[in-house]
Symmetry: C2
Subunit: 377 residues, 2 copies
């Protein structure tokens, strides 16, 4: 059994469990910091170990273009390439094809796209996405799907979802076919649910995915501008269809209070660029109080604000419920110093606030796991 639910909350659908993948056992629910191009921006793999991150997410589309699969295969996969021997999840590449490339053309075969770097033409198919992720040696491989754009007509939406189902089948076949040549033969394969904001379509599609059978189920296409309450409704609706004994992954963007909400609806896994991207703009997260059930349990601080120029309080105010190898360092620097580093554009500024924000998200998950264990969520 690779996924075990150890405890269920009495007050919500939240669940506390363990997910076993080839590179380790992950405590759920968990959050995945994003190592887009084989590095969490400004941080190293050793840094992520010091932060006690359990797993990283990396992007198939980016790594496929650079450094390319011949390079990754030389190192026998991404784990060795980036010197990170804990779990890795890779996305399918589909989302970036749709969001980054200048040109894209969807056919039954796959998605043709022009590289955002040099305009070169590529064709990403379910089979190629599996091949690439298996060369990467990812622990959790994501099926290749179409993230449906908001401007699709009902007909286009229906066609897209049906195609994503057919692609999901091809993914499973290709994934199994490649196992002997994979850089991570024991990898897990997750299906991705689509259907825009239509609950009926979402459920119908999830039923199709469950029929095919995956090691876990992701809910895609809900962090691309859809309203939060709508996303919650869909996650709630899917609870009736998704198997209880498989992990559920809400893909992409979530603010801290949204993460709590999704966990309460039964979600086990999340990822987001928010902590790292906002860090580079000087936006810092910190806890205000302990009750995750109240949305105001955290606040954001714009450390670039002039009011902090002489602030002598430390960047990390409280270690809270976790310990990391950076705590002592983050307690040394004052807000005034970090504000100065932003003002004069020192890279160290981005690094320090990235550490703070990744630490915040990791602590949030620890608080969530503790809260479930004590039936406080």
């Amino acid at each position: 059994m690779s996924f075990a639910v150890k405890q269920k909350s009495k007050n919500s659908k939240a669940r506390r469990g363990e997910l076993k993948v080839p590179h380790g056992v992950i405590q759920t629910p968990f959050f995945m910091p994003i190592a887009t191009k084989a590095a969490v921006k400004t941080l190293s793999s050793a840094d992520m170990e010091k932060l006690n991150a359990q797993i990283l997410l990396s992007n198939t589309y980016h790594l496929y273009l650079r450094p390319g699969m011949d390079v990754i295969d030389t190192y026998k996969g991404l784990h060795n390439f980036m010197s990170w021997q804990k779990p890795i999840l890779t996305d399918s590449g589909g989302y970036q094809v749709f969001s980054l490339s200048k040109m894209r053309k969807i056919t039954e075969e796959g998605a043709e796209f022009a590289s955002h770097i040099d305009g070169s033409r590529h064709m990403l198919t379910p089979e190629l996405s599996m091949k690439v992720q298996q060369v990467l040696g990812s622990d959790i491989v994501m099926a290749f799907d179409e993230c449906t754009p908001p401007d699709y007509t009902e007909d286009q939406l229906e066609e897209s979802i049906a195609r994503t189902t057919r692609w999901a089948k091809r993914c499973k076949e290709a994934f199994e076919h490649n196992i002997d040549t994979s850089n991570n033969p024991q990898a897990k394969l997750f299906g991705i649910n689509q259907g825009a904001t239509n609950e009926y379509r979402r459920i119908a599609h999830a039923e199709e995915l469950v029929k095919i059978g995956f090691d876990g189920y992701a809910i895609g296409g809900l962090s691309v501008g859809e309203p939060f309450d709508k996303a919650c409704k869909i996650v709630e609706a899917l609870d009736r269809v998704l198997p209880e004994d498989k992990p559920r992954y809400f893909m992409g963007g979530a603010k801290p209070h949204e993460i709590v909400a999704y966990v309460k609806l039964g979600v086990d896994m999340m990822d987001c660029v928010i902590p790292t991207r906002n860090a580079r703009h000087g936006l810092m997260y910190r806890f205000v109080h302990d009750d995750l059930n109240k949305e105001d349990f955290y606040e954001t601080v714009h450390v670039t604000n002039e009011k902090f120029s002489k602030d002598e309080k430390p960047l990390l105010r409280s270690r809270g419920v976790i310990e990391t190898g950076f705590d002592e360092e983050l307690e040394r620097y004052t807000l005034g110093y970090v504000r100065h580093l932003f003002t004069v554009d020192e890279m160290l500024a981005y690094r320090l606030v990235t550490l703070i924000n990744v630490r915040f998200y990791l602590e949030l998950m620890e608080r969530i796991r503790n809260s479930i264990e004590f039936d406080r969520l």
Copy 2:
């Protein structure tokens, strides 16, 4: 006695000693990594501790403009502001006024300049330079001098040097006058020798400085485009004038083999942006053999070169004669991975090669100190 020469080489003028300043005892000869704006680019103060750097150099001009002295004074000096409790040397601001500002006008009073940031007008005088460095709480304060430009006529040169002498006197007076209000009352004050490439003028100016009397003597204006052999001749000539019992500081730019040459001519202190600036362009230093007397004891490696794309050798090939808190991490990442990080413009690339290069320069100084002790230099 704040400076003690412990051993002199039998084969050159090289000397091995200790320099005591308020924040610690520094083993000489030493190299100062540059923390221009209160941070060594890409690195933190904790990182510099892990590298065992003995002292940092920071720039008065930059810190005077941003964050400004009111901010620094809130923290009672630069040591607290940047959380670095080991020694700091600050330059006088003169060099940056001459190299960075769009406008500059030298009068007997000082140097009027326009900020390179916002064009605002400022007047830097010997008295203000002392005041600023004493608010910074620097351990080694540098006298305010004019770094003579190469296009000066003989008359202009003579006038400039005479003015630098008068400024040196004013610096000493102001420095002593401010001691009670300084953030580092036990700080040392160094004079700066000028005179372009004219040995006669250099010696005459050094004699004037020695008459005034400083805790140490710097040789300025020789790393701004002057040929290396000419610089060596001047350092050699100054040996007859500079007191043996005071530290000698060759200011600015020096490649590794030049550092060895200056040490052999009796220099105790150096600084340079080379290791940090080149790192950000992917230029890496490493040792080739142990004999520092041969110029080819090191090599440079352009890690961005395509030939490294599949290289599985570690970034740090050998720990050599020192140990730092980053050695294990720098042995984890391969040249191929770091080359990739440069290709995709990840900040981590700049950080990793900065660590390698600062480590190289610090190891070079340790090798130099060992070589002097064993009469191998």
